[in-house]
């Protein structure tokens, strides 16, 4: 079974449930499984994102004249399993239209193959993706502008090759070609390949481009703006929008910080509308990042208020989420479905995991998922999740529980970040509201330490 979405159908038998609850398959907005959670994510509303992009959320028309000198640079920060990729797919679909944007998506995890990534690698990848789109969609560009960019690029590669030759190594292949979209695409692809090759070559390429970054940015900005004009003239879109997904998976926390914060000046020099996904651990740095850009927290769906009261609208939406994937008659009762929803804590992925476990422990003879099977699966999941929590962590969970019981916000610091990243704690709204993962609360260890 591949990731061809046509294979993902609603389960009408127990045997089909496993396939229907897979959480490693990103769902596109036009797929029957897609559920729109935008109006139940607490303080988050997708219209804020649209407005940040100067797009009217009612008409999805891009207002080019507002803030014409600046482009939008948005960081979408969310926990793992919150549905960022699906949400971005939805947003991209809504925005990719003649009155709005031409969206170019760049998935760093499938598109790049290097552990020690830097911003330069991301930028070269974006350029490669743009040229792929230009080629595939037959979008014409001015030869003069293209030639200028290609010549400048080639000169930089020559400089890189001189250093490589001097120190001994394999040069980046430079062909003598007439500037064209195809030839530039080839060049960009070879540069990208070398960035993913030996560490030595990658460093040399990055150094040359960094040393000439201002000129590079100027060349690129001219080209991007030219493409915008072409898009308008051909009535395909008003402007380009890059959607860069996967930044949170880059190697280490330090590497991610280096890109987002360390290279923020360079990022801002590139004048093109871009949405980046932001690693969750950098949310504590949002004050620093947001001085320069827009940071939008993308929380889990809020299914309970701080005082524990359930939010019916959110629960209903999750009901829809489940029943799109699994026929309701495969559950013994609505109560079982509701319990699974509450145990998911507002995370679509964690809910799917709960359902997967319930299915694994369900009785094939009965042919349905019972409350008993759900409880058995939850017990197993709870023990497995809690076993990695240290006694010091449990002290934090105790504090969180007490604050929530008293309906008080909890002041947090970096020590909480680890628990957020590990999904021991879930975050809602703008991050001021947190809860312990409901599955953790079920565990014997939690009951022993926290009560």
């Amino acid at each position: 079974m591949s990731q061809d979405l046509s294979h993902y159908k609603k389960a009408t038998t127990l045997a089909e449930v496993d396939n229907a609850v897979r959480f490693d398959v990103p769902i596109t907005p036009d797929h029957p499984f897609f559920t729109d959670f935008s109006d139940v994510r607490g303080d988050f509303e997708d219209k804020v994102l649209y407005k940040s992009l100067n797009v009217d959320p009612r008409t999805f028309i891009y207002n080019r004249t507002a803030n014409i000198a600046n482009k939008s640079l948005i960081f979408l920060a969310g926990m793992r399993g919150s549905g960022k990729t699906s949400e971005l797919a939805k947003i991209t679909k809504k925005l990719h239209r003649p009155n709005c944007f031409y969206c170019v998506t760049c998935n760093l995890d499938t598109g790049l193959d290097k552990n020690d990534m830097e911003y330069m690698d991301v930028l070269i990848f974006q350029i490669e993706r743009l040229f792929e789109e230009l080629k595939n969609q037959d979008i014409t560009v001015d030869n003069g502008i293209l030639a200028s960019l290609q010549v400048w690029f080639s000169e930089r590669i020559n400089e890189v090759n001189k250093v490589i030759t001097r120190e001994g190594g394999f040069e980046v292949e430079l062909k003598a070609e007439t500037p064209s979209i195809l030839s530039f695409l080839g060049l960009a692809s070879r540069v990208k390949a070398n960035l993913q090759g030996t560490k030595e070559n990658a460093e040399k390429i990055r150094t040359v481009f960094k040393n000439n970054f201002t000129a590079f940015a100027q060349q690129l900005n001219v080209f991007f703006e030219h493409v915008n004009i072409r898009l308008r003239n051909e009535e395909r879109a008003q402007e380009l929008l890059f959607v860069v997904d996967g930044m949170e998976k880059v190697a280490t926390i330090d590497a991610r910080k280096k890109i987002v914060i360390g290279e923020s000046d360079r990022i801002r020099q590139i004048k093109v509308n871009t949405v980046f996904t932001l690693p969750i651990e950098l949310q504590s740095e949002t004050q620093r990042i947001s001085q320069m850009n827009t940071v939008l927290p993308f929380p889990f769906i809020k299914i309970r208020e701080r005082n524990g009261i359930e939010i019916p609208k959110a629960i209903d939406r999750f009901f829809e989420f489940i029943t799109r994937r699994i026929d309701e008659k495969l559950f013994d009762s609505k109560d079982t479905i509701k319990k699974a929803i509450l145990m998911g804590g507002g995370s679509p992925r964690e809910l799917l995991r709960v359902l997967e476990y319930a299915n694994l422990y369900s009785d094939e003879e009965k042919g349905i998922i019972t409350m008993g099977a759900l409880d058995k699966g939850l017990k197993k999941l709870a023990a497995q999740t809690a076993q990695y929590i240290t006694p010091a962590d449990f002290e934090i969970l105790k504090q969180l529980k007490n604050d929530n019981d008293a309906d008080l916000p909890t002041a947090t610091d970096e020590t909480w970040q680890d628990l957020l990243e590990k999904l021991i704690i879930f975050e809602y709204n703008d991050g001021t509201y947190k809860r312990v993962n409901p599955v953790v609360e079920l565990s014997e260890l939690y009951k022993r330490y926290v009560g």
């Binding site: 496993d18 490693d24 793992r80 995890d109 499938t110 552990n115 694994l360 422990y361 999904l423």
Partner: protein
């Protein structure tokens, strides 16, 4: 204490359900025995014969190799064995990453970062990606996985925790090796002569010649100890002690405790060590010098050893943990002090031994690895130091033992080969050193055991023959040495088993008879020694089995009855001991079946009791072996049964 109840069926049921649908899966498997992995592999291949299967040893691979293999596989199962290697970076005991380690650590980082970053790409292929981590450290390794691969971790499909009960008999409880000095020669005769000379010298020496007396007493005590004359050695110590000031008595007290321990008088040993411990706890309050702190640490070690010998493993653990804590403090405060470093290494070894005795082999392994790492550093920094070399050799031996008990025979062979190499060098450089000769003999025995387990009986035989040759030389030169005698008995037993497996039954019988003779002598000399009693019972049982196969049924029955009588005593003496209870039940069933085989009158109660015992044991422990033995006993009750086959079967595992 780790729950090592068999849980394979329960844990893998959801896994097999999950794997019915080919899709990307990320499965984390923690395990406490390699047999479980073999079983899992076999079951996967059997249940999914059309799914390609590939294994990669992560400790010998980099990310590129894993990625290429993954892409080439396309579908099926990819096993990443020894995944813990990728999660933990190598550093020395000061936390420093040396040049030699840096490249390997980068390889490790590349694997975890690469798999994490490429999560979505991995998810595009319908491959079940298994990673394997040892159960003893799975919480720590799980946290490391969450830190280093948080995105891949969030895609985990299932975590399974496979446990197998590890029979204590798989862990060889060797008789404690008593070290023998090089004083006075290498044979008992030479040492006796030297002792006689020194005792005469002592008699002739004026009591006012304190300094001279203080040079004689230590040698006399050592020789008496080497010769096993423990009572005499203790008396000499007491004379020696009378010449010393309070400050100087510690070492003598320690030796006294050690002599009590070596002679089997554990209660006196305990009293002595407790006194020493009290002395140093007091001394430290007024004068916490490094020396006193170290002496206190050593007293904890001795207390731990004695409680361990008395069977109180929890208490032993407490003392060894204190020992470890103190030696760690000493070493961290004085990293140049090799003595402290060595004590720290030993403390890890003790913790490893205790966890092993408690059945937690993987935890034991972690401690042994730490001991070995420190041992290697000590030896490499001090290559002329024979003691450090020997310490390193012993650490390899324990690593080999533990890997073997865990079922990883290839790793066990590697470590035993290293052990053998080092002990050979030690013995060749110090041919008068009897301890080194004995260690070399033991290394051959371990190589033999492992090759036998791997199925290479000829190779095993060669090693056992070498072991036996050395063992005979040692015993003949030191006939009072109980350890050497016991070692030779065990060597004969292994030769017997190997010849039996090779079909050389007459040869096997000869060796079992030799084993039984030596074991009887040991038991007759030390009737209170439980280990010797059990050893003799086992010898009789093996002799009986050999005679049975050779169709000497009546002789076999006599052997089994001799074994049974001893096992009955052990069972009555230690009714809580599961192993003795099981052996007793097995002996009952064997006697019952033998009587039926020969046509003698039977006592129905024997087989009924055996069945009852195995039922209880299985209910209490859920260990499958007891269920199988129970089933065999039930078959024994049926008419027209092949009793000979059932007797051989029940004794085979």
């Amino acid at each position: 204490m780790l729950d090592n109840t068999d849980n394979y069926d329960e844990e893998v049921a959801p896994l097999f359900k999950l794997l019915r649908t080919p899709a990307f899966r990320f499965i984390v498997v923690s395990f406490n025995h390699y047999d479980l992995l073999k079983q899992l592999e076999s079951d996967l291949r059997q249940n999914f014969p059309d799914q390609p299967f590939q294994k990669i040893d992560v400790s010998a691979a980099d990310y590129r190799q894993i990625s290429d293999a993954y892409q080439a596989l396309g579908r099926g199962f990819l096993w990443l064995e020894n995944f813990d290697d990728a999660l933990e970076e190598e550093r020395d005991s000061h936390g420093v990453e040396y040049y030699a380690m840096a490249a390997d650590n980068e390889r490790r980082r590349g694997i975890t970062a690469g798999l994490n970053l490429r999560r979505d790409k991995l998810a595009q292929s319908p491959i079940a990606l298994f990673v394997f981590i040892p159960a003893a450290s799975h919480e720590r390794l799980g946290r490391l996985m969450m830190d280093k691969m948080p995105d891949l971790w969030s895609f985990r499909s299932l975590i399974i925790d496979l446990r197998k009960h590890i029979e204590k008999r798989e862990i060889e409880a060797e008789l404690r090796q008593i070290s023998i000095s090089t004083l006075g020669g290498s044979t008992a005769k030479e040492k006796s002569n030297e002792l006689e000379r020194l005792l005469k010298q002592l008699e002739r020496t004026d009591s006012k010649e304190t300094s001279f007396l203080l040079t004689l007493y230590p040698q006399i005590v050592q020789l008496q100890s080497d010769l096993g004359l423990y009572k005499e050695a203790i008396a000499t110590l007491e004379s020696w002690e009378r010449l010393l000031s309070e400050e100087e008595k510690f070492n003598v007290l320690k030796q006294k405790g050690d002599l009590y321990r070596d002679s089997g008088n554990l209660s006196s040993a305990l009293n002595t060590y407790e006194n020493i411990n009290k002395i140093f706890e007091e001394k430290i309050k007024s004068s916490p010098t490094l020396e006193f702190v170290h002496d206190l640490a050593v007293s904890y070690e001795r207390l731990g050893d004695t409680h361990s010998a008395l069977g109180d493993l929890q208490k032993a653990m407490e003392f060894f943990e204190k020992y470890n804590e103190l030696t760690k403090e000493l070493y961290e405060a004085n990293p140049q002090n090799v003595s402290f470093k060595n004590s720290l290494a030993i403390s890890y070894s003790k913790l490893g031994d205790t966890h092993r005795a408690l059945g937690d082999l993987q935890k034991a392994l972690e401690f042994y690895q730490e001991r070995s790492r420190l041992g290697k550093e000590l030896y490499e920094a001090n290559p002329q130091n024979v003691s450090f070399k020997n310490g390193l050799a012993i650490s390899y031996s324990t690593l080999g033992d533990t890997h073997r008990a865990l079922g990883d025979l290839q790793k066990a062979v590697e470590f035993f080969a290293k052990y053998n190499e080092l002990t050979k060098e030690l013995y060749e450089a110090n041919p008068q050193n009897v301890s080194f000769k004995n260690s070399l003999a033991i290394s051959y025995s371990k190589l033999g055991d492992t090759h036998r387990a791997l199925g290479d009986l000829q190779k095993a035989l060669e090693f056992y023959q070498e072991r036996s040759r050395l063992g005979k030389e040692l015993y003949e030169a030191n006939p009072q040495n109980v350890s050497f005698k016991n070692g030779l008995a065990i060597a004969y037993s292994k030769l017997g088993e190997t010849h039996s497996a090779l079909g050389n039954l007459q040869k096997a019988l000869e060796f079992f008879e030799k084993d039984a003779q030596l074991s009887k002598e040991l038991y007759d000399d030390y009737p209170q020694n439980v280990s010797f009693k059990n050893g003799l019972a086992v010898s009789y049982s093996k002799l009986g089995m050999c005679n049975l196969v050779l169709n000497n049924a009546n002789t076999a029955l006599d052997n089994f009855i001799s074994s049974f009588n001893l096992l009955l005593e052990l069972f009555q003496q230690f009714p809580q001991n599961v192993s003795y209870t099981a052996n007793y039940a097995e002996a009952l069933s064997v006697i019952y079946s033998m009587n039926l085989l020969i046509g003698k009158s039977i006592n129905q109660k024997n087989i009924d009791t055996a069945i009852e015992i195995f039922e209880e044991l299985f209910e209490k422990t859920l260990i499958n072996i007891y269920k199988r033995k129970l089933d065999i006993c039930v078959q024994m009750k049926q008419a027209n049964t092949d009793y000979k086959k059932l007797i051989i079967e029940i004794s085979s595992f």
